[in-house]
């Protein structure tokens, strides 16, 4: 069946309700948020209508610069670690028997859907003095007495890798499942070791997928807002935490909105980049 163009207004009928819902409840809130970013703060309520740039001017402060560079650095690190683990892992996953694959996928989806609250709670238990990993080290005789491993940067990083790993695997899964293994077979036939074949054939062939994954996971990691609060110290707070904090606890919605707009711009620019890479890939193949 070819897809005809709609003939009459009546044909557009089914589109009306979804279009209206998305416009009213997504496009308009988004627009209001942008507008609020130019408003003035009202400590007693939400905001007073105005048109000022002062919320954006606050980006120039040293404090904001520190939070921003920390958030970006942390997200880059999470994205790198997750991609380095997930790339070989997902490749191996796609080679497993279908039943085993489904089993893994159910587990990965379950971890992916876990609330940040629960991930934060679980890791803080694992890093705690009473129920944590250090107890294991004590019983093995490596440590003298159990200690608490959080709040610390390492705790934040570990939990964020935990949160982003299932996402990374599922981002890589479609491309790696499509991958034609005859390339690897060819490399092996010519005498390359499996690891060498993987590094010298698989990685270059999947270069664009890898870059796109790195970016997607980076944007995903930028969104983490509870783990730095539960497992870190105030100096480990990210831009997402700061936005929540300003909007809810400091009742400074305009400044929160300005930061959110900024975060949207970074994210959109990066996502746009992955789309460009995707296009290039299509042209090449």
């Amino acid at each position: 069946m070819n897809q005809p163009a709609p003939n009459s207004v009546k044909d557009y009928g089914p589109l009306l309700y979804p279009a209206l819902m998305l416009l009213v409840f997504f496009a308009i809130p988004f627009g209001i948020m942008i507008a609020v970013s130019f408003f003035q703060r009202d400590p007693a309520g939400f905001y007073t209508v105005d048109f000022v740039f002062s919320n954006y001017e606050r980006f120039l402060s040293a404090f904001f610069g520190k939070v921003l560079s920390f958030s970006v650095g942390l997200a880059v690190l999470v994205s790198l670690i997750c991609t380095v683990i997930s790339f070989p892992f997902t490749y191996l996953l796609t080679r497993l028997k279908r039943r085993t694959q489904v089993f893994w996928l159910v587990g990965i989806l379950s971890v992916l859907s876990l609330s940040e609250v629960i991930i934060g709670f679980s890791w803080s238990s694992l890093f705690s003095r009473t129920a944590g990993l250090t107890n294991l080290l004590v019983s093995l005789g490596i440590l003298d007495s159990p200690t608490s491993l959080y709040p610390s940067f390492g705790a934040v990083l570990t939990a964020m890798v935990y949160q982003a790993l299932p996402y990374t695997i599922l981002v890589l899964y479609p491309s790696l499942a499509r991958f034609d293994t005859s390339y690897l077979e060819a490399a092996k036939t010519m005498g390359a070791s499996p690891i060498r074949a993987f590094m010298n054939v698989m990685v270059p062939v999947q270069r664009n997928t890898l870059i796109a994954t790195l970016i997607m996971v980076f944007v995903f990691a930028l969104g983490s807002y509870l783990l730095p609060q539960i497992l870190g110290r105030p100096q480990h707070w990210t831009l997402s935490v700061l936005i929540t904090d300003q909007a809810i606890y400091q009742s400074n919605m305009p400044f929160a909105a300005a930061m959110a707009v900024f975060l949207v711009l970074i994210s959109l620019a990066l996502i746009g980049l992955t789309l460009l890479i995707g296009k290039e890939e299509k042209v090449v193949s």
Binding site: P4, R98, T130, L170, G223, A247
Partner: protein, 267 residues
């Protein structure tokens, strides 16, 4: 890759993913109100408390209402949209697909703040139903993706045949198209339900001060110290998610839903 190395690597990843869950499970069955691992004694009382304690029960009820309400809402938006984009050639209408996918790709705090400013401006801030609308929109991506996949996998000659036999648009949808995409609709529902159950920030920014969902309740409780009940709720969540995804996998094609179109076994 060599076989033992492969298994070691897969095992290490599995261990990493399971470790926190094992500790949570262990902590949740402690006999006394302490968070020790390995657990001291064995008791399921903390699981009971989710249902007997009025606050936990009301949070559970709120979460279940929110999850089912928003799953229904997001399907009601996604299904006609993906149907329209499949049935008709209207490239400009793809803007709505983009609008549906955007909230899921952007950092969630952005959508959450968008809703906060929207509900505050419209004067509905704090009304319980605003959480359902917020989640319904936030998660619309999931049924949009699954139903779009469902429509593209329909053999169009079947639709043409029923059209030739004189069925009108509505009858075709009801008798031919809908039964074919039903598994995809159900998976979309399941994904939205589970994710809504776990979602914190959007719910918090919409109704955080008037209503407690389970994630909000856990986070609020974290400030007053840890209890085994929190571990019990957390483990219950993992179990529910795993059960629902296992059911989806049992009745649907999970690898295909997640983008593996190679079909069948690979060597």
């Amino acid at each position: 890759m060599n076989r033992i190395g492969t298994y070691l690597f897969l095992g290490a990843v599995a261990l990493f993913l399971l470790l926190p869950l094992v500790v949570v499970l262990g902590v949740s069955v402690n006999e006394k109100q302490s968070l020790t691992f390995p657990p001291e004694g064995f008791s399921l009382a903390w699981y009971g408390q989710i249902f007997t304690d009025a606050e936990w029960r009301s949070a559970l009820f709120n979460s279940l209402t929110l999850a089912s309400g928003s799953a229904v809402l997001s399907i009601s938006i996604a299904l006609p949209l993906s149907w329209f984009l499949w049935r008709w050639y209207a490239p400009w209408a793809n803007i709505f697909r983009l609008l549906g996918i955007a909230p899921f790709i952007l950092p969630p705090v952005i959508t959450a703040l968008g809703f906060l400013t929207f509900w505050a401006t419209s004067g509905f801030y704090g009304e319980p139903w605003t959480a359902i609308v917020s989640h319904g929109i936030f998660f619309v991506t999931l049924p949009l993706v699954t139903t779009t996949l469902g429509f593209t996998s329909i053999d169009k000659s079947v639709v043409e045949a029923s059209s030739t036999l004189g069925a009108n648009e509505f009858v075709i949808f009801k008798t031919v198209v809908f039964p074919l995409i039903l598994p995809y609709v159900i998976s979309g529902f399941a994904f939205t339900f589970v994710l809504s159950l776990n979602e914190y920030i959007v719910a918090y920014m919409s109704v955080g001060f008037t209503m407690e969902t389970l994630p909000i309740k856990i986070f609020n409780a974290l400030r007053y110290g840890y209890t085994p009940t929190m571990a019990a709720v957390s483990f219950l969540f993992v179990a529910v998610a795993a059960l629902i995804f296992a059911v989806v996998a049992r009745f649907g094609d999970l690898p295909k839903l997640l983008g593996n179109h190679s079909g069948g076994d690979v060597k």
